[in-house]
Every structure is written in structure tokens, then in C-alpha cells.
Amino acid sequence: MDKFLVSHPPHIHASRTTASLMRDVIIALLPATAVAVVFYGWSMLLVLAVSIVSCVLLEWAICKWLMKRPFDCPEAAGVTGLLLALNLPYTTPWWVVLIGAVFAIGVAKMTFGGLGQNVFNPAIAARVFLLISFPAYMTHWEIPQGLFGADAVTGSTVLSLVSENGTAAIDSLAEMGWHPLFAYVGGSAGEISILALLAGFAYLLLRRVVKIWIPLAIFVTVAAISGIFHAIDPVTYTGPVFNLLSGGLVLGACFMATDYVTSPMSVPGGLIFGFGIGLLVMLIRYFGAYPEGTSFAILFMNMTVPLLDRWFHQPKFGRD
């Protein structure tokens, strides 16, 4: 008999690999990325290029020289780079982006042991790090020029306008042509088109890359809390539609809170995780010092994941 492979079953595989899952996440982020590039132009391309290239190269270098082990999944580092870029204003200077990438990969991911080991979502950790370290760059929003656009005009994000001027600001924005579902001025690059983000998320759901529970819990919680507060005092507190569609909520809920590594494995754990994020987002938006709180909320809830995984398991066969 010739030589044949002898190994335990199963003998076949679903042929879904870590790399292919990460490629799906990248594909899902392409619509939002494309809209950002069209709206923000060449400077957006620069932010994207610096972020992605430095994330991938840095992880490769750390694997090769510091950890002396194979660079398992460049696609995962690419996702971090892409998400980081989409979490920054397109006006961020290249060296600030670079520092963000170093923090994301070097500190938030690799010091914990690399792929699969990090406690915090690397892109979110880097965004918060930059927000605290370079507040001027991180809250400097300019009216987009477009790919071949005219001169830039400095502006504010919707949320910071509301934070300063109350709900009345929404009317003036609407007069300026702002529409939450398509695109709006200012904010992080990836927040520009809710529709593009949702289209990408629908793709992830269809391809069964992620499950809907965590984003659903976030959206329901945000809608419920803002609905109650808005009903009580519509002048001070913004309503559910505004809160769902503004800021980084959709980007964060659909693409950052669903990160495998930093979210709970069980469905009940995920629901509590999502509820916690929604609650923190609304607490920060209504009562906090920052106009936007999605990043902080996700970062904070990342810490609870080991506990949630310990407490909540999926139901076992024959145990109910």
C-alpha cells in the first residue's frame, strides 16, 4: 500500500479561515471607506494608507523580531488599521495617525499576546489614546472638500453643537442640508454615511461573520433611554433617532463592539455587553464632559468580557 494520510476525523473542513473572516470584515467596511474617500478626498487616502500600512508592518516587525513567531494573520492587522483610520477625522496629521497605529498594535494588541489575546479593541484603544493626547487634532473637524473639492471650512460635529447649544442646533443643521442617513459634515471619517455602514453590516450578517445580538442590544438601549429622556424634556435631551444616527454609534456598534476577541462569546453575555455600551453611551452624551461616548463605552465594557464569559454559557443539551 502506498503512503496515505492517517489522522483523526473530521476529514473535511468548512474552509472558512481566520483570514477569510477578516477579509469579509474589510469588504464590509469598503462602502463606508469609499464614501469617506469621495467626501474627504486625498487627505482621507493619506490617513487610510498611513494607518493600514503602519499597523500591518508593525505587527509583522513585532512578530518577527520581538516575539519571534509567525505573523499569523495580516488581514486582522489590516482590519485594525482600517478601523483606526475610519475612527479619525480626515484632517489628522500623518504622524498622529502613526502614533495611533503604534498604540493600537504595539500597546493594545501585541503586549497582551497578539491575535486573540487582547482585552481592548486595538482601534478603539488607539482612538481614545489620541483623543486624550491630541484633543486639538481629534476634535478639529472641517467641512469636507471632496476628492477634487474647493476650500475647506472649519466646523463642529453635530453632537458637539448639540452639546453646546441644545437640541435647537439640529434644526439649523437640517437647514444646512445635513441628513443623518447619508452623510454629514464633520466627525470621524467612518461616521459619514450611516447607510454605507449598515450596508456593510448587512453583508457581515448575511455571510454569518457576526451575530446581530450585540448591536441590537446597543441600539435598543440607546433608543429606549433617549426615548424616555426626550419624552420628559425634549429641549435638553435629544431623541432616539438623532442618538441612533449620530456620532460613531453605528460604526462602533456594528464593527467595533462585535470584534470577536473583545466581546463575549455567549448570546446572553453579548446582550448584557450591548446593554452596558448603550447605557454608557447615553450617560456620557447626556451627562458627561465629552459630546460623544461610544469609544469610551466600548472600551469600558471590553473590561467586563472575561467576567461575562465566566458567568454566561450557552444552554447545554439535556440540561433544561
Partner: protein, 442 residues
């Protein structure tokens, strides 16, 4: 109509049942057969013939070696040439009786005619004795002696007999072929077991990727008109043919960990077993033949077959007859690609329950390099027992037997869904299997 399936976990591999339309062919007799004394779960049988004895096909050559054991019969007529150890498919030495084939003479009283005998006998003890004497074992994979399974303790009551025609493993088509070609005999076999179990309900459960089998069985049930019997189409999902999952799919009841199917009123028998019971009881024919699929992704269409073989023919004889081992076969499996045993020794003899010779190419069976767990949870989603393979894997690596037991490692049915689904190619099931062995020792 609402189709049944089990609710928890499971995967959907491509069905790749290429040999679906290959009618059952009878293999010619080889010059020599090797009859294993360990063709069933439980104690090996004890040879009761001596070298030089003349035997007929269907004659007992080994007797049960314990309560959970089974009779073994000669599949051919001829002369016993030797009795001694011979390597099985895994390469382990097992006692085999070597018989040189001379003619094809069957023992007295065995009815080889194709006429259907639909009258159901009523003497329960006599029927059980016939099933035992015919050496019938479960042909769904476990080869558990059928007379033991059909004789549950008196305090438990069988409410439903489930005939497993799910054949949920990709590639395999032997059950499908007997359901299409010999539905009447399966239905009579089911009715006999129904009688043995005290007249309970009977459900013939078939996955919906086999509509012809569903139709054939339905027509047969209608024609034969046994009471309290129905055909239930199941929504395709692997591992539906697993006993626990099949009961859950058909009855919506889950057995408690460690409990037998009868604890929820169910008895499961494979479609092939129903046919064997029919032949044993109505035709006095012992279980020495079965149907086996020769298939694989690297076989061309005309080389795929469903063969009626005699238990004792070597795999290499069958492979040769079917046209030889394909050049690009990287792995040969006895059974389906999810749970089948790898064949280390193609010269090994077939046994009563030999399900298939499956040739897999390098491409189809490649396992990637193990990467780090990204906590995607696909293994836990796929586990039909609700276990968390990622956690069991971690605990197994740490050697924490207590925690492994707490997380119910012993409930793993080794269906392979976790490893099949893992995007990082972590050998989850390999480690869990090892952990189970360690946990059982404690």
C-alpha cells in the same frame, strides 16, 4: 409541511453524495475471506470452528463472548484455513478466521428468495432470539448488538421507535440505496421491531435531500398498512443521524447526560439494521452482507459504486474490483468524512458495519496550520451538545480534568462539528478526545 430537525448547533457540509444514483451491485466472491471476531461493540466473539472445518455461508463460526457481544457467521462456504491475529483497519491485531472460498453454499433454512414476507410474528421472545442468533448489530456506526437494544429494562416503556434514515454524513449513499431499492423490507423490519417493543409508534426519519427515499418508504408504508407507522422528512443538518439529535428532532425530547434513549421513551435503529432484522426474522438469514459505498472527491463518476459485500472481504479486494485506488487519493476513510475512521491498512477485512471506502484528495482533506483562537465562537455555535469546545480545548491544554468534567467534556459525541467549523484550524476535537480519555480514568 413543517420539517423537523434538532435545534441546537449542527453544520451544513456540502452533501457530495455523488454515488446517489449508482444502483446496488453484488460483488463477486473473492478466493479468501477473513472473518473478524470483533465486528460489534462489546466483548469479542469466541471462535467455535477449527482449522480444516468445512463451513457453509450463514453458519456460526464464533459465539458471543459476553452479554454485550454477538454471534459471527461465515459469509461464504469453504474451508477454515487459519485462526489468528490479523491487522484491522487501524493496524491493530484482531483475531480473524481465514476461510478459503469454495462454491457458494448456504446453511440450511436460510431463505434467499426475493419474495417479501410481510406477516409479522407475534412471539416476542422468539423474535429476539432470532435477531440474536443472526448476529444483528446496529449498522448506523456503533455496531451495538441489536437484541440488547431491543430489550430495554422492564420498568422503561418504549413509546417511539425511530428508524434512522438520515444518512447525514456527506458522500455516503448506502442507506439511501437500500431505502430506494428495498423499502418494503425496511418497513417490515421496522414493524417487527415495533412488535418487539410492545406496539409503540414507529417513525422512519429521512433527511429531505433524499426525496426518492421518502417517497419509496411512504408508498411502502401505505401498501403494507402497518398501524402507527409514518415517514418523517427531516430538514438536512449534520449530525442528524446521531441518536440524541435524531430523538430531539423527531420527538423534541433531550436525553439527560449519560442517559439512554429509552429514558425519554425512544429506541433508535438504523435503516440498514431494519433490513438486517427483516432478513434475520423472516428469512432466517444472518447478518453477513451489507451495502458499502465506494466514493470520494477524486473518483470519476463511473468508478463510484454501492456494493453488496460480504463481511470478511478485504477492503483492498473491493477497491481493486472498483477500479483501484485513485492516484490523487491522499486519505482513505472507512465511513463518512465527518466521523469515519481513517484507514491505515487497506488489506484489512470488512466487518458487518463497514460503511464506505472514501477516497479524499489532498485538496478536500487538507487541514491548515493551527492559528491562535480569535474567540469567534463558531465551535460553540456548531456544537450540537451545547458544549464550548474553545473552553474545553483550553482546559485540555492546561490538563485541568476537574474543570473539564464540570464543563461536561464527557457529553461530547465526537461529531467533529467544532473542528470542521474552526477558522483557526485548532485541533479542538483531537484535544477533547484525549481529555475524555483522561476524564474517564479519574
Amino acid at each position: 409541511m413543517r420539517k423537523l430537525t434538532f435545534p441546537m448547533g449542527g453544520v451544513h457540509p456540502d452533501d457530495t453524495k455523488y454515488a446517489r444514483d449508482c444502483a446496488i451491485e453484488v460483488l463477486p466472491l473473492p478466493p479468501v475471506v477473513y472473518v473478524s471476531v470483533s465486528q460489534h461493540l462489546g466483548a469479542p466473539a469466541v471462535p467455535c470452528v477449527a482449522v480444516g472445518d468445512k463451513v457453509k455461508a450463514g453458519q456460526v463460526v464464533a459465539e458471543p463472548g459476553g452479554f454485550i457481544s454477538a454471534y459471527v457467521h461465515s459469509p461464504v462456504s469453504g474451508t477454515v484455513k487459519s485462526i489468528g491475529p490479523r491487522k484491522d483497519i487501524a493496524g491493530r491485531p484482531v483475531t480473524h478466521i481465514e476461510i478459503v472460498v469454495e462454491g457458494d453454499e448456504w446453511a440450511e433454512g436460510i431463505d434467499l428468495s426475493p419474495e417479501l414476507v410481510p406477516e409479522i410474528p407475534t412471539d416476542r421472545a422468539a423474535v429476539l432470539e432470532k435477531i440474536k442468533a443472526a448476529g444483528v448489530v446496529g449498522l448506523g456506526g456503533a455496531t451495538f448488538p441489536t437484541h440488547v437494544k431491543l430489550n430495554p429494562p422492564p420498568e422503561s416503556k418504549a413509546e417511539c421507535l425511530i428508524i434512522d434514515g438520515a444518512e447525514c454524513e456527506p458522500y455516503l449513499t448506502s442507506d439511501y440505496r437500500i431505502m430506494v431499492e428495498r423499502p418494503d423490507e425496511i418497513v417490515v423490519g421496522a414493524a417487527i421491531m415495533q412488535m418487539v417493543l410492545g406496539g409503540c409508534r414507529a417513525v422512519l426519519a429521512v433527511e429531505d435531500n433524499k426525496p426518492e427515499a421518502i417517497e419509496a418508504l411512504r408508498a411502502s408504508v401505505a401498501r403494507l398498512g402497518y398501524a402507527n407507522m409514518e415517514v418523517a422528512p427531516l430538514k438536512c443538518k449534520y449530525p442528524q443521524g446521531s441518536e440524541k439529535q435524531l430523538i430531539d428532532a423527531v420527538l423534541g425530547r433531550q436525553t439527560k447526560p449519560g442517559a439512554l434513549p429509552i429514558s425519554v421513551g425512544a429506541v433508535v435503529q438504523n435503516a440498514g439494521t431494519a433490513l438486517a432484522v427483516y432478513e434475520a426474522v423472516q428469512k432466517n438469514k444472518p447478518l453477513v452482507t451489507n451495502v458499502l459505498t465506494v466514493t470520494g472527491d477524486c473518483l470519476s463518476g463511473e468508478k463510484m459504486h454501492n456494493y453488496l459485500f460480504r463481511a470478511g472481504m478485504t477492503l483492498s479486494y473491493i477497491a481493486e474490483y472498483a477500479g483501484g485506488v485513485p492516484a490523487d487519493a491522499a486519505k482513505i476513510v472507512s465511513g463518512g468524512p465527518m466521523m469515519g475512521k481513517p484507514i491505515a491498512n487497506l488489506d484489512a477485512a470488512t466487518v458487518k458495519g463497514s460503511p464506505a471506502i472514501l477516497y479524499l484528495s489532498e485538496e478536500a482533506t487538507r487541514r491548515g496550520k493551527e492559528g491562535p483562537c480569535i474567540r469567534c465562537g463558531r465551535c460553540a455555535d456548531a456544537c450540537p451538545m451545547g458544549l464550548e469546545p474553545f473552553l474545553l480545548n483550553r482546559l485540555a491544554k492546561a490538563g485541568d480534568i476537574e474543570a473539564l468534567k464540570e464543563n461536561e467534556v464527557l457529553n461530547c459525541i465526537e461529531c467533529g462539528c467544532c473542528l470542521y467549523s474552526c477558522p483557526a484550524y485548532i485541533p479542538l476535537l483531537d484535544r477533547i478526545r484525549t481529555a475524555k480519555v483522561l476524564a474517564k480514568k479519574r
